[in-house]
């Protein structure tokens, strides 16, 4: 080969060839070198690394065996999870309104699908990686077949067969008492269950064995079928590959008999029970929505793919961002709550207010962005802010009644007026602000109207949302609000103005000094005592506020770390160019600082997601509470805690792992141009 070191030095864009890699080691040599200290010379080094490898392998195998024994044990009642899936995810959300859940999910899938379609295509998954996965998972399956203890033998009545201390089998007589097979009475102590023989066990798991062997065979085919170079340079596109996998899984609901597990409650008698029908297909109410969801996802993905690179792409990306921002509000308040509008009131109060603020505000913005408005603009902006402040002061002293919406609208108007000087210029630039205002105030008024309208969804508890659904929403709303708040806090803490610095420092230090669980109790118990008469904070709102305030303090510190990584020269350059402090912060400092903060920010997001399980303690019917308290109290599954707890562990893990992977991708994409 003539590719020598010279190749590694050519880094111009014309040369897209990858760095020549060392050829992969053959598996045995790889193991020798990496696991058993080969190549290190000294016999001690070999012994030491071999001992460590063997000890930790044995530990890992033991843990794996125990896990398998639990998962596949006859004593583990997975029906408690199967039957309660709906409860775990959405609490007692009424079945008649379940289409709302699916519509919400569909909306999120459309946004995800289009987003995935628009994403830059990476290299994909190399065949080498796929072979490694196949051999890894196949190996785990095969190992599991041999590791798991043999199953317990079950008698005709469904109870496990028992044997005495010497292993002599016992049976039950007509009265149900245990006797030896010859009818003589059996001892009551030292009994144990009877397991099938090891050979029988392996034989009965031949299906699993086959799956494992097929995977390993596939890996071998890839490994030996393609040369070293080709298995490294042949790629499968990651997203279509994953979609195909999901599709294959969902398609099994159409042809494989997963069995049907339902929970039925007779509302008149109050008797509940669950039905378990093995050997049938899953219910249509499961299969059809999931199939539709998959089709929606694929359709959205193809749409995004189609529009990628088109002239419409930048606008679509803007729409997507807006969609992601609005989705939590729309799905939670508009779709899941099913608000019952009082149309008379809407027409008499809500619409006129919206029109007044929309038109009046638009006119004000148009005036404020007139070139040459100068000082008058600032005076007007301060005036509007003063009015907004006055409405709040008036509320505090109870001088005159006013809808909260009006106060908030004034506040928004004041903020927009402050922004106005940035849009002074020609008509197009001025219209940007005017349209922006109309859009903002419209969304705001629609949302407030929806939120103020009572829900039509009836559930036994105070909140219409529960289970995993509520965990997700609390996480999303917390991140949505605490992120901007945390950034503001970080900016305040690094500000030159001492009052901001002081306030931000006090806030951050006090909130970081209080345990989250204490905050949650404080907000659920105490805050309602401080609120004015007639105002009450719903449980979910209270805990979300606690989460936002808590998380913002941590986010602020993460962001501050990023801000400090921005070099001084960047500040000087923006100052020398005549950018204002706000422009410098928005265009130069924050983009660079936030980029540095991505890993800790995602860490914080994952932490928030996991910490929502604390909601169980303050009385919210969240994911953990379903598994820990509700299911074990159902008469059918009395005390059955472990399966559901293991299940929620897996669900939490999948979510957190996805976030972590996404952040890695984000880091990689944003790293462009920064070296």
């Amino acid at each position: 080969m003539e590719t020598t070191q010279l190749d590694t030095q050519t880094t111009t864009e014309s040369n897209v060839a990858v760095r020549p890699e060392e050829p992969s080691l053959p598996p045995l040599e790889w193991m020798q070198r990496n696991l058993f200290g080969g190549g290190q010379g000294s016999i001690w080094a070999v012994a030491r690394s071999s001992a460590l490898t063997i000890v930790f392998t044995l530990l890992g195998l033991f843990a794996y065996q125990q896990l398998l024994n639990f998962i596949f044990s006859e004593e583990t009642d997975w029906n408690s999870v199967r039957v309660n899936l709906r409860l775990l995810f959405t609490q007692a959300y009424p079945e008649s309104d379940y289409h709302r859940v699916w519509i919400s999910l569909g909306l999120v899938l459309i946004l995800s699908g289009v987003g995935l379609g628009l994403m830059k295509v990476g290299q994909g998954i190399s065949m080498k990686k796929i072979a490694t996965w196949c051999v890894g998972w196949g190996g785990l399956v095969v190992l599991g077949v041999f590791l798991r203890q043999p199953s317990v033998l079950v008698g005709d009545d469904g109870t496990p067969l028992l044997a005495d201390a010497d292993g002599v089998p016992l049976a039950r007589d007509g009265l149900g008492t245990l006797v030896y097979l010859d009818g003589s009475p059996a001892p009551s102590q030292g009994l144990s269950v009877v397991r099938e023989s090891y050979g029988d066990a392996i034989a009965s798991r031949s299906g699993w064995l086959l799956i494992g062997l097929v995977l390993i065979g596939l890996a071998a085919a890839i490994w030996f079928g393609l040369g070293d170079k080709r298995r490294r340079s042949t790629f499968l596109p990651a997203i279509p590959f994953s979609l195909a996998g999901i599709g294959a899984l969902i398609s099994t609901t159409w042809w494989y008999n997963w069995g049907n597990y339902t929970f039925s409650a007779d509302e008149e008698t109050g008797v509940s029970g669950f039905n378990f029908e093995p050997g049938v297909k899953v219910a249509e109410t499961t299969r059809n929505p999931w199939t539709i969801m998959f089709v929606v996802l694929v359709g959205a993905y193809l749409l995004g793919r189609r529009l990628r690179g088109s002239a419409f792409e930048p606008r679509l990306k803007g729409l997507l961002t807006l969609g992601w921002f609005l989705a939590p509000f729309i799905t939670f308040f508009a779709i899941l709550r099913g608000p019952e509008f009082d149309w008379g009131y809407v027409a008499a109060v809500d619409v006129p207010l919206w029109l007044a603020f929309g038109i009046g505000g638009a006119a004000l913005m148009w005036v404020l962005t007139k070139p040459g408005i100068g000082e008058l603009g600032r005076v007007l902006a301060v005036l509007v802010l003063a009015i907004a402040a006055f409405t709040w002061i008036a509320a505090f002293f109870g001088w005159f009644g006013m809808l909260q919406k009006v106060r908030l609208s004034f506040l928004l108007l004041g903020l927009a007026a402050l922004l106005a000087p940035n849009f002074i210029g020609e008509a197009r630039q001025r219209l940007t602000l005017v349209y922006g205002w109309i859009g903002t105030i419209t969304v705001f008024h629609v949302m407030v109207t929806i939120i103020n309208t009572p829900s039509s969804i009836e559930v036994p508890t105070e909140d219409f949302a529960g289970g995993f659904m509520v965990s997700i929403y609390v996480t999303v709303f917390t991140l949505l609000f605490s992120f901007p708040f945390g950034v503001l806090l970080a900016l305040a803490r690094t500000s030159r103005l001492p009052i901001f610095r002081l306030l931000a420092t006090i806030y951050i230090e006090s909130f970081r000094g209080v345990p989250l669980i204490t905050m949650l109790f404080f907000f659920t118990v105490f805050v309602n005592l401080f609120l004015p008469k007639g105002m009450e904070l719903a449980l979910l709102a209270a805990v979300t506020i606690a989460f936002v305030l808590f998380s913002a303090a941590y986010l602020a510190e993460n962001v501050r770390g990023g801000l400090q990584a921005v070099r001084r020269g960047q500040y000087e350059a923006s100052d020398a160019l005549g950018l204002t402090t706000v422009q410098r912060t928005g265009f130069i400092v924050l983009p660079q600082g936030l980029r540095v903060s991505i890993p800790p920010l995602v860490g914080q997001a994952i932490a928030t997601y996991k910490e929502t399980s604390l909601l169980a303690i303050v009385g919210v019917f969240d994911f953990l509470r379903m598994a820990r308290d509700i299911i074990p109290n159902q008469p059918e599954f009395l005390g059955e805690r472990k399966p559901a707890l293991l299940f929620i562990c897996v669900v939490y893990f999948v979510g957190a792992y996805a976030m972590s992977k996404y952040s890695q991708r984000l880091e990689k994409n944003l790293g462009v141009g920064e070296r």
Partner: protein, 259 residues
């Protein structure tokens, strides 16, 4: 006025022009250390002044005071008739007339070359985007790298980055350009391309104050050389006077070490 027109011989014009920058007894302390000790100098419009001196002599500090990257504690600085005070409006006005090029380039790494150049004209000068982009293209051509507009600074060589930085400063259409050791962070083979751009700019009639160690550049381009040491202006003169018959001993010592 545009920076492009004026090709008239600079020296002839000097007497007829107004003073562009006036410094009177400028003092600057860092803690107890006095970095500038009563620096007084007047720079005329279209004049190219090169500031020389050993490191730590206050050259950079002085020119950084002129656009308020550093705050002076005594004396007066007047730029184009506007005195530099704590009034933000004055600072904004002066910064919009004074462009600055840094030793470390200080380009914005997260923005493309084009966005680096158009950001300030669009947001500080309120220029329409199309106009700002046309200007950016024109300036990139002028500094000789029109093909790099869509790259990120990290993808360019040091010399190219510094030329982008010059284009970025010019995009604000300044009346004065300050150069703070613009070639000190560059590899030798890239110094020339940056100096060429600066020479071109000087020939175009830009008022410039250049802190540099490039003696060749000083000799060729400067109308006047200011020699500083320990926060004071020691000697001022034409390049010819400065390099051939310096009067002060400290100047002679400096030149003997450097030449």
């Amino acid at each position: 006025m545009s920076i492009n027109d004026a090709t008239v011989a600079v020296t002839e014009e000097l007497a007829a022009r107004d003073d562009m920058i006036i410094c009177e007894g400028v003092d600057k302390w860092y803690g107890d250390f006095q970095a500038l000790k009563g620096v007084s100098a007047t720079i005329k419009e279209r004049e190219v002044v090169v500031v020389l001196g050993p490191s730590g002599s206050g050259k950079s500090t002085w020119i950084r005071c002129i656009n308020r990257l550093e705050q002076h504690q005594g004396g007066r600085i007047i730029v184009d008739g506007v005195e530099l005070t704590n009034d933000t409006r004055n600072i904004e006005k002066i910064r919009s007339e004074v462009g600055m090029v840094f030793q470390q380039f200080n380009l914005f790494p997260h923005l493309t070359v084009r966005d680096n150049i158009t950001l300030a004209p669009i947001w500080a000068r309120k220029k329409p985007r199309a106009e700002a982009e046309a200007l950016a293209t024109q300036l990139l051509e002028r500094v000789g790298i029109p093909e790099q507009a869509d790259k990120f600074p990290g993808q360019l060589s040091g010399g190219q980055q510094q030329r982008v930085a010059i284009a970025r400063a010019l995009a604000m259409e300044p009346r004065v350009m300050l150069f703070d050791e613009p070639t000190s962070a560059l590899d030798p083979e890239m110094i020339k391309e940056v100096l060429d751009v600066m020479k071109d700019l000087a020939r175009g009639g830009m008022t410039m104050i250049v802190v540099t160690h490039e003696m060749g550049f000083a000799r060729e381009v400067a109308d006047r050389i200011i020699f500083m040491e320990s926060g004071e202006i020691v000697e001022t003169g034409t390049p010819e006077h400065f390099f051939t018959s310096p009067e002060e001993d400290r100047t002679k010592l400096f030149l003997s070490q450097i030449l």
